[in-house]
């Protein structure tokens, strides 16, 4: 008994592909702990093993070796699945059902009575902004609507753990904001959320902790601050009214739509020197912003480093 929402020890998955049944290791011994009540973002490039991990957690695939627990119940056990809500990547549903029929069906799979299902559906459809489409067949839904009704089915059983695979996939900015709000709402209610996403700004915004999975290996785990650091990496200065840019301590990187020049300084000392010189020439200061390394930048650096290491090992 660990109290963790998810715990895996040496979880490994090997697929056999092609006529010769060649081995492909999708996941190399994953050791992962997701604490109860936290929002955990799992990120990684395509083929990193994210979906394989989620499928094993959901009992869709059996691990080749290793073991894991969801809310202290063994992976794939009915007791574990009863407490989990899952939205797969690019979900496919029975498109001949209406939204209400669809949610009733998934409620029945959880063993819910009709009155429990009706009550929950009345609560969930407004949450995902779908109450007006309750009697529309899913085949008439847009991608965003399918994603939203898919989230509703994952919440039918009031799960203690919600697992979302690419929940923002195919959504417009409003849809993405809705997903972020739902994830925040779940966290407020004490629900644990594990989600995979390629939209790293969303992951950065809502995750308590992030895991970076590359090449089937968990490379890093930590809070966003622990991963990217909370130090500013550069300062952006926006200056206007400068006719002569020659002789300034820094060269402008680009200009914005108003014709203002944008400079990037490595530290405040360089920035101050630039601003002083610009004001002395009659320039105007329009902006001064510290910039922190983004999760996206950190992820790209990490992925590049792992890729380089693998190439070097391959060459040896």
């Amino acid at each position: 008994m660990t109290g963790a929402a998810i715990r895996t020890e040496g979880l490994r998955k090997v697929y056999r592909t092609g006529f010769l049944r060649r081995e492909f290791v999708a996941l190399h011994g994953l050791d992962l702990t997701v604490n109860r009540g936290e929002v955990f973002g799992l990120i990684g490039p395509n083929g990193a093993g994210k979906t394989t991990t989620l499928k094993m957690l959901m009992g869709l695939n059996a691990p080749t070796s290793g073991q894991g627990w969801i809310l202290d119940k063994p992976l794939g056990s009915l007791e574990a699945l009863a407490q989990v809500g899952f939205l797969p990547e690019r979900p496919y549903f029975y498109d001949y059902l209406t939204a209400t029929e669809f949610l009733h069906f998934y409620g029945q799979l959880h063993g819910m009575t009709k009155s429990q299902r009706t009550h929950k559906i009345d609560e969930l459809l407004p949450l995902v902004h779908m109450e007006r489409a309750r009697n529309t067949q899913l085949r008439k839904f847009s991608k965003g609507m399918l994603q939203r009704v898919g989230i509703a089915q994952a919440l039918m059983n009031d799960p203690s753990l919600v697992v979302l695979d690419e929940p923002s996939s195919g959504l417009d900015p409003m849809g993405r904001m809705l997903i972020r709000d739902i994830v925040r709402g779940l966290k407020r209610n004490g629900t644990t959320v594990l989600f995979c996403s390629h939209v790293l700004s969303d992951v950065e915004e809502v995750s308590d902790r992030v895991g970076i999975l590359i090449g089937g290996r968990l490379q890093q785990v930590g809070t966003v601050e622990e991963l990217v650091g909370d130090q500013e990496s550069s300062i952006e200065i926006v200056l206007g009214g400068l006719e002569d840019l020659e002789g300034l301590p820094l060269a402008p990187q680009r200009s914005n739509a108003r014709g203002h020049q944008i400079f990037v300084a490595d530290d405040h000392e360089d920035a101050r020197a630039l601003v002083t010189a610009a004001l002395a020439r009659g320039g105007e200061l329009h902006g001064y912003h510290s910039r922190r390394e983004s999760l996206e930048q950190h992820f790209m650096d990490e992925a590049t480093a792992v890729d380089r290491l693998e190439r070097e090992e391959g060459a040896r």
């Binding site: 009992g59 699945l81 797969p88 496919y92 029975y94 029945q108 799979l109 089915q153």
Partner: protein, 255 residues
């Protein structure tokens, strides 16, 4: 039980909203009605021909639905990835298979009922006469379809639709001839051939057991004990196939 019921109802609902089934049903009804024309072109035994062709139409179209809907039943769920949201719910995989199976059986029962009503209307309309063996003949056609559907589900649980169709059709054809295979073996002088053919007969489905078309066409009597025994045999065989399918399906990965 609520989970099996939900999956069965959903499968039935899917079939009811599927246009392909309506097309097959339409052709079956055309063929039943067309039995009048065939009977007209044949010399003598007018009533027998109508009875025979009508029952054959019910059996053939029932088999087509059982095989082609049956093999796609599981594959479509995996290929369409709808299985992801079901297998990740607290639903034992055997309940999923049994639910799908019962849903298709309900569909087949509905189709057979519609075809049987059309058949009786044609028989009455043409004054061909209804025989006492017709009810048992149609019932055992349904039991045969229950066995064939279970065969289709077994292969659908672990192979592609193409292989599944090949194996299911193959086993159905062999099943219709398994009695002859046994008789052939009994005539052999070799003990080994006799044992092997007897063993094959025991393992393979005996689908000829469900064929009462001759009795229905010629107006022969059928004992209820025979119908009960054949129903028991079909149910046990289908149940055994579902158990094997469930064991295979339990260990299947969904890629």
């Amino acid at each position: 039980m609520i989970r099996i019921w939900a999956i069965a109802v959903n499968t039935f609902r899917e079939a009811v909203r599927d246009k392909i089934l309506y097309s097959l049903l339409f052709f079956a009804l055309v063929m039943i009605a067309g039995s009048v024309l065939i009977a007209d072109l044949t010399i003598g035994e007018y009533g027998k021909i109508i009875r025979d062709v009508g029952l054959a139409a019910i059996s053939i179209f029932g088999l087509l639905i059982a095989v082609f809907v049956g093999i796609g039943l599981i594959y479509k769920e995996i290929e369409g990835k709808t299985i992801y949201t079901i297998a990740s719910k607290p639903v034992p995989r055997w309940q999923f298979l049994v639910g799908k199976y019962l849903g298709l059986l309900a569909t087949l029962a509905t189709e057979i009922t519609i075809m049987a009503i059309a058949y009786l209307v044609v028989l009455k309309g043409m004054g061909a006469g209804v025989t006492s063996a017709m009810g048992p003949a149609i019932w055992l056609t349904f039991v045969e379809l229950a066995v064939v559907t279970a065969i289709a589900i077994l292969f659908g649980a672990f192979t592609s639709p193409m292989l599944s169709a090949f194996f299911t059709i193959g086993l159905t054809l062999i099943g219709k001839m398994s009695q002859e295979l046994r008789l052939l073996g009994q005539k052999s002088e070799s003990d080994l051939v006799q044992i092997l053919t007897e063993l094959a007969y025991r393992v393979l489905p005996d689908l000829a057991r469900f064929d009462l078309r001759n009795e229905a066409s010629y107006g022969l009597e059928v004992e209820w004990e025979y119908v009960a025994y054949a129903t028991g045999y079909g149910s046990a065989y289908a149940a055994a196939l579902l158990v094997v399918s469930s064991i295979i399906f339990r260990f299947r990965d969904f890629k």
